[in-house]
């Protein structure tokens, strides 16, 4: 990875939930690094563990969830070793979060001004009056018209887009170092989504935040992120800079995902969908988790889980095709595209 300062370094994170039917590993081996001032996108389909990853970072898991393993290094300190009191100081202050549903994540019985003030009074030792003034400034910052009036509104008096702006204002109240945005625009219409994405980008430039952007929308990722981690069945399966990921995806799953996306900007003949369904978390495949759906899967893929390997550019991939041990064809056809395998047919043997 480049010389950029790494503000958040997640290493081999594993999170499990106890359920009636047994333990479920929702996150099982997630690693990524967030360079300061950059945006990393975490993409995946439902059940891939992307939201649980973000909740694990802030340790906001439900009572039946536990972090089994891993490190979350924020400025070199492991958040998983912090006390609850230390975490409280951090949340909403240095690391803050925006959620998908602005309707359910705001408190309906307090005005938006009161809700923004809460963080300011708690973390910045402001008086009520100072906090009220700052709340109006923040609402103005996120582009809410007549903020001095809106500050006295209750959430139900605002539209969906406005509520999401309020959420963003709340999360920015203490000038956080890291903003975690969990599907912040999924519940919004496209014209409103465009407004919110523009706002987040603009604020990031002005305030120098680092952003973790969690979404299932590949279009949003392409437009907002610098780096992308693709998740599948609880694992990071491909990590690359945004250009490489969209232009030269390597992983069969990523290629399949991109090729099954209907696009409005180009004409496509027939979509090339990924066959089958996401595996049940109760019954994960022993080998590669994508093997049952993968058009290139071999016996090796079905038998043994590949590791997340890093290449010379710092991009990462969890796939046997690009390893020395590959036992399939040297040219692999994936959803109409060809990829050259590393093992067979090539002589390159890289030192360990």
């Amino acid at each position: 990875m480049s010389a950029n300062e790494i503000i958040l370094d997640v290493k081999d994170l594993q999170t499990s939930f106890k359920t009636d039917t047994g333990e479920v590993r929702a996150v099982d081996g997630v690693s990524f690094q967030l360079p300061k001032g950059k945006t990393i996108g975490i993409v995946g389909e439902s059940g891939s563990g992307k939201s649980i990853t973000s909740l694990s970072i802030l340790r906001l898991l439900a009572s039946n969830g536990t972090i089994k393993n891993g490190e979350v290094l924020y400025k070199g300190q492991d958040l998983l070793k912090f006390s609850e009191a230390q975490m409280r100081k951090l949340r909403g202050n240095e690391i803050s979060m925006i959620f998908q549903e602005p309707m359910t994540s705001l408190n309906p019985v307090y005005t938006v001004g009161q809700q923004i003030s809460e963080a300011l009074i708690l973390h910045q030792n402001m008086s009520k009056k100072e906090a009220a003034v700052r709340s109006v400034e923040l609402l103005k910052l996120v582009g809410i018209p007549s903020p001095d009036k809106r500050v006295k509104n209750y959430p139900f008096e605002l539209s969906g887009g406005m509520r999401q702006r309020v959420m963003i204002a709340m999360s920015l109240a203490c000038n956080p170092e890291i903003l975690i945005a969990d599907e912040p625009t999924t519940a919004l219409d496209v014209t409103i989504q465009a407004q919110i994405l523009e706002l987040i980008k603009d604020l990031q430039e002005r305030l120098g935040m680092s952003v973790i952007f969690i979404t299932h929308d590949l279009g949003v990722v392409a437009e907002t992120c610098d780096y992308v981690a693709v998740m599948y069945a609880g694992q990071v399966v491909e990590y690359a800079d945004v250009r490489t990921l969209f232009k030269e995806p390597k992983l069969p799953y990523t290629i399949g995902l991109l090729n099954s996306l209907p696009r409005h900007d180009i004409e496509q003949d027939k979509l090339e969908p990924i066959q089958g369904n996401v595996p049940s978390p109760h019954n994960m495949p022993v080998g590669c988790r994508f093997a049952p759906r993968c058009p290139a899967a071999t016996d090796l893929c079905r038998a043994k889980m590949p590791k997340l390997e890093t290449d010379e550019n710092g991009n990462q991939i969890r796939c046997w095709i690009y390893s020395e041990e590959w036992d399939g064809e040297s040219e692999v056809n994936l959803y109409g595209e060809t990829r050259i395998a590393k093992g067979r047919g090539t002589k390159t043997v890289l030192p360990d």
């Binding site: 014209t191 949003v220 392409a222 969209f246 409005h264 900007d265 027939k270 369904n277």
Partner: protein, 337 residues
């Protein structure tokens, strides 16, 4: 190719009353759909797109009389559906089916798949009882499920599979028109592509006509022949797929298209970011409904309702409801952001 009209909608209005006051009198109306007209021809796929509250789903429901339309004519093969009694209407429901958005909410959780499909065939008298079981198994295979799954309950299926059951139910009565109301919106991308491909294959096989209601312009571009863009209960633009995506004329259509993120980091495009929110359909703006957010709006737009029209440089059957199509195209009018 002689195109056969299958469905003709004329002057359709759907107003929902708002009750209020001490006596519970109707105080106002939500004008969900306000005077729209369009035609669907046999074997084609027409899509209605728009943001939430534009009236696209209401249109679909009004066509099937799931909600009685306030005004207007809906002709199916030349018969005005609005004039039929409930009993007569039931016969036509066989020819017009709907697939809903939520695959979890639209199937009775206490019925097995077989009984869901059987019920539809029984009510519409499609097949005698002794032949239905074979047909059910055949239907399941058609939509990509396995015959032995017929005796399972909905909770045993994933979201994508449940949507396939919804499609099988619609197909069970041999319909001609299927209204797909956000039928793939709740599905993950990889599953969505499977279902879209299935819908396309079925259309070819059974010569189906689709009215596809969606907010996702990517999906719409993929599946449609013609597209209707709605905003606040009105049609803004109506065109064949190519014209709409390559040569959009209405400022709203342009803004909508530019707002969608493209999964290609090299495409830096000019984005038109619309100001403000969609106004309330209770008191929609006068004149052109889009004038409150339109970067080209003038005083005329505030007072005069624009009609759908075709100008030079537009294909036949491509219509847009804007006073200034020519001026915007020639560059005479510049946007005012």
């Amino acid at each position: 190719m002689a195109k056969q009209e299958l469905l003709k909608v004329e002057g359709l209005k759907q107003y929902f009353p708002i009750k209020g006051g001490l006596l519970g009198r109707t105080t106002n109306h939500v004008k969900a759909v306000d005077d729209i007209s369009f035609t669907i021809y046999e074997g084609e796929t027409v899509s209605i797109v728009g943001e939430s509250g534009c009236g696209k789903s209401t249109t679909g429901r009004a066509i099937l009389r799931l909600e009685e339309p306030t005004e207007g004519v809906v002709e199916f093969k030349g018969v005005n559906l609005a004039g039929l009694s409930k009993r007569e209407m039931r016969k036509y429901r066989k020819d017009m089916q709907i697939i809903f958005q939520d695959p979890y909410a639209s199937i009775n959780p206490r019925q097995t798949v077989a009984s869901v499909l059987n019920e539809a065939m029984e009510i519409q008298k499609v097949l005698p009882a002794n032949k239905r079981r074979a047909r059910i198994e055949e239907l399941l295979e058609t939509v990509g499920l396995l015959p032995y799954q017929a005796d399972r309950f909905p909770h045993e299926f994933s979201g994508g599979q449940r949507q396939r059951i919804g499609i099988a139910r619609a197909l069970s009565v041999n319909p001609e028109l299927i209204i797909c109301d956000e039928a793939v919106s709740a599905l993950d991308v990889s599953i969505q592509a499977q279902v879209l491909n299935l819908l396309e294959d079925l259309q070819q096989e059974y010569n189906l006509t689709y009215l596809f209601i969606s907010h996702d312009l990517g999906v719409v571009r993929h599946i449609s022949d013609r597209i209707i863009v709605m905003y606040l209960g009105k049609i803004m633009e109506i065109a064949d797929k190519e014209s709409l995506f390559e040569n959009p004329k209405h400022p709203y259509t342009k803004a909508l298209l530019s707002a969608i993120p493209v999964p290609d980091p090299d495409k830096k495009k000019e984005r038109i970011v619309l100001k403000g929110d969609v106004p309330s359909p209770i008191n929609p703006p006068t004149g052109c409904r889009f004038h409150t957010r339109c970067p080209f709006a003038t005083e005329k737009c505030v007072t005069d309702v624009p009609e759908l029209r075709t100008t030079a440089g537009m294909k036949e059957n491509h219509q847009a409801a804007c006073h200034y199509i020519e001026e915007i195209a020639s560059g005479e009018m510049q946007p005012n952001y």
